[in-house]
């Protein structure tokens, strides 16, 4: 594999006694779209600001394209940045905003004009060059901010929660657009977000962060299906976390039932959390037909359109509660009713075990 485009090693940032970033190392490859994901205060913004040089880390190194930029001021680095607030210059027209980074480079006027024109077309606002930012919608303003960042053809694009200030619909639309643009330009991109859906839908790889540390790095699929920690399991997507006991390697006791599972590494008799995605719970109907299944009562049903949320409990589950996602079609086929006793099957490979103990300790 080629050398990483961005190589981050042992990055730490302290504000007095508080450690905002704790020994973070990560490689980002040329053309990759990476999301830093985590709750507020997890250190993702600190990491981004260290990469940009806006707030330089206390310890550790950053290499971009083989160049050590650890201690360089932002102006000596090679990146474009887009903020949640757009940070457009209100008193300059859209065209002047986009041209802002070019005007300082002693390029011929005509070249600048052409570049601005191209960029306006790229972001789908070819006729808005003469307008002021305040005359545009939020989504349009964010696209202008993107064009301004791209104008200087940076090697690295940094997006600081670029969609958070927008309406839900615009957000989804712009999400796809940014992703398509990134693919087209092939520019290495880091986006920070606290919205896991956004991260999953856009990123090539996701870096999940918590308390200044990296919890997991992986593709969206890896993060979703093989969460490395209880925290990641809970933070990404919906997840049932059921207290269970490991009876022997490959089998857990959950309520009154025993279920086979694939993940080992715990001593027999250990108390664990069994993590199961709601969509991995298979409702097999009123008769038992599978191995690795158990019986429980439908205690609540919530119609969501294409699917139902089921809340299951009692029966062999005992005190435990399990949420399951059942498609509307299957629910119709099974004639699912409240208080029905149902047989439920969980494939062994979809049960993941984590040490007992609440993740937000």
């Amino acid at each position: 594999m080629a050398d990483p485009y961005l190589r981050i090693r042992n990055l730490s940032k302290r504000f007095g006694e508080f450690t905002a970033l704790d020994d973070v190392s990560i490689d980002i490859h040329q053309g990759e779209f990476v999301c830093f994901l985590g709750p507020s205060g997890c250190g993702k913004t600190t990491l981004l600001r260290a990469i940009s040089g806006l707030d330089i880390q206390t310890h550790g190194t950053v290499e971009q394209n083989g160049r050590d930029i650890s201690a360089l001021p932002p102006a000596k680095r090679d990146f474009g940045i887009v903020f949640q607030s757009y940070a457009l210059f209100q008193n300059l027209t859209v065209a002047r905003n986009i041209a802002y980074g070019l005007e300082n480079r002693k390029q011929p006027k005509a070249a600048i004009q052409q570049r601005v024109k191209d960029l306006l077309e790229l972001i789908g606002l070819p006729d808005s060059g003469h307008k002021y930012p305040s005359q545009l919608s939020g989504g349009q303003q964010q696209r202008v901010a993107l064009a301004r960042a791209l104008a200087i053809s940076p090697g690295l694009l940094l997006l600081d929660e670029p969609l958070s200030a927008l309406d839900a619909k615009v957000r989804v639309y712009l999400r796809d657009e940014i992703k398509a643009l990134q693919r087209r330009l092939g520019i290495t991109t880091i986006m920070i977000t606290h919205d896991q859906e956004e991260a999953i839908s856009m990123a090539d790889r996701i870096v999940v962060m918590r308390d200044g540390r990296i919890e997991q790095v992986g593709t969206p699929l890896e993060i979703y299906h093989q969460p490395a920690s209880l925290f990641v399991a809970e933070f990404i997507g919906a997840m049932n976390l059921l207290p269970a006991t490991l009876v022997r390697q490959g089998e857990i006791q959950l309520g009154q039932t025993r279920l086979a599972c694939k993940i080992n590494g715990f001593a027999a008799g250990a108390a664990v959390h069994a993590a199961v995605r709601p969509e991995d719970v298979v409702c097999t109907g009123r008769t038992n037909g599978h191995a690795n299944s158990f019986q429980a009562e439908v205690q609540d049903m919530e119609f969501m359109g294409p699917f139902f949320w089921l809340s299951l409990g009692g029966g062999e589950l005992g005190e435990h509660r399990l949420r399951a996602q059942v498609s509307s079609q299957q629910a119709r086929e099974l004639d699912l009713q409240l208080r029905d006793a149902m047989h439920l099957h969980i494939p062994a490979e979809h049960i993941r075990l984590f040490p007992n103990g609440y993740p937000h300790g």
Partner: protein
Amino acid sequence: MAEAVTPPRIRPHLGRDEWLMGGGLLVLALYLAVTLLIPLVIMLAKSLEDRQGVFVGLSNFAQYFSNPARSGAVGNSLWVSALATLIVIALAFGYAYALTRSCIPFQGLFRLVAMAPLLAPSLLSAIALIYLFGNQGIFKGWLFGESIYGPIGIVIGSVFWTFPHALIILITALSSADARLYEASESLGATRWRTFITVTLPGARYGLISATFVVFTLVITDFGVPKVIGGQFNMLATDIYKQVVGQQNFQMGAVVSLILLLPAVLAFFVERWAQTRQSSAVSSRAVHYQPKPRPGRDWALLGLVSVVAMLILGILGMAAFASLAKLWPYNLSLTLSHYDFSNADGGSWTSYGNSIRLALYTAFFGSLIVFAGAYLVEKSRVAQPLRTATHLLALIPMAVPGMVLGLAYIFFFNAPGNPLNFLYGSMTILVLATIAHFYTVSHLTALTALKQLDPEFESVSASLKTPFYRTFWRVTTPMCLPAILDIGIYFFINAMTTVSAVVFLYSPDTTLASVAVLNMDDAGDTAPAAAMAMLIVLTAGVVRLLHTGLSHWLHRHTQAWRR
């Protein structure tokens, strides 16, 4: 596994921007140190010396407090300032309430009238009060035999000139109300009084605290009003005058200055605290409150506002009359002869011209320094300790009586061996002193404007490899132009009216109109004093109008990008 080795600490390299910002901050810090901190320290250190300059510890303080005549001034200053503050806040709250929460007519006019005292030297109100309520005053009877010379006069005079200061703060506080709270209160069936108590007052509470302390600080550090109308009523500010000017006892003057600093500093920090709370109290989703007509309330408020406005106009009108009456009170025929200053003490059209020059220089350089300084404090990425220190330095002047600053300037700038000695006696030193004297409010105005800009402009600019000064010039400055104009006019008007700091610093070539007012009044040339004061009022008024016009023009021409 081996222990992780802590990698070496990163020492950020500084780019051109960082060097320039850091250098700028350093220059600003040096500027404030030279024009403010060092002179003040030299001056205040005298409180620990005897007249021969020998260190005597706190014995001057002991001496001060052992003399009941002196220490009584502390109590006097406190209660007079408190009373004046109470009255100003009550009146200004009613006035601001009428302008923001009722449907009274002529709101623009009433607002204009209420701001008029800002244009006048604080002496003007005192002169007018003597003509109104003095022993020969038209309304002498209204005081029921009490004398205007003393606490009554000080309180009324102080109320007059501090009223607009309180009003500005309270209008801001009241106009940021959230209409949704009122709807909620109404839908819960609360009475109007209950709504007022539970919604209006809490909503404005930080504004009220802020206004209270601003007024208190202004009154307790002012020396113009108590000097002219205070009679022998002892206040701290006049006590400094007595010590320094009457007895040339700088040491005791420094003692009093330090004592005067305490309540002012306290007031100042409480005010700052309240200010930060006020701004965060209003959420960005607040819905603007639109008052609906309600005759009972509106008529009552119209009454209050009219009375206050009449009083303000009355005082200004009386001052105008004082400047025109031939020989008060024996010959009341009108004459313009008092405007011929050739015979009056120190006053002349030259002084007036000097004052205009001082005001222009101060407005220009003051807004330049203050705005660039506030920008560096608020927006630069480097030298955090220096930024904090500079900011704190900028907050000092509000609590420093001008006379203390003026004397401090003599001690510092006239010291033999000071390379800045050449400034002494020049127009420059007057400009420096005036900028320093009025630095705080200007600095805070600039900061407020800068805080409203997107905090990431500088980051974007750096990422686009554009030097920060280019962004400062092309984006920050145009966007803050209204605030810069406000700072300019603030400096202009104060430079026209200020006395206390510059009275020790002017030279034969730089005599000033405001000092002439003081001197003429001192010598008893009340009519020419009033005339010169009116001239200042008129000039400041004209400049204010120009400023309003310019602001309107600016607003219209930048409408495209301001929402």
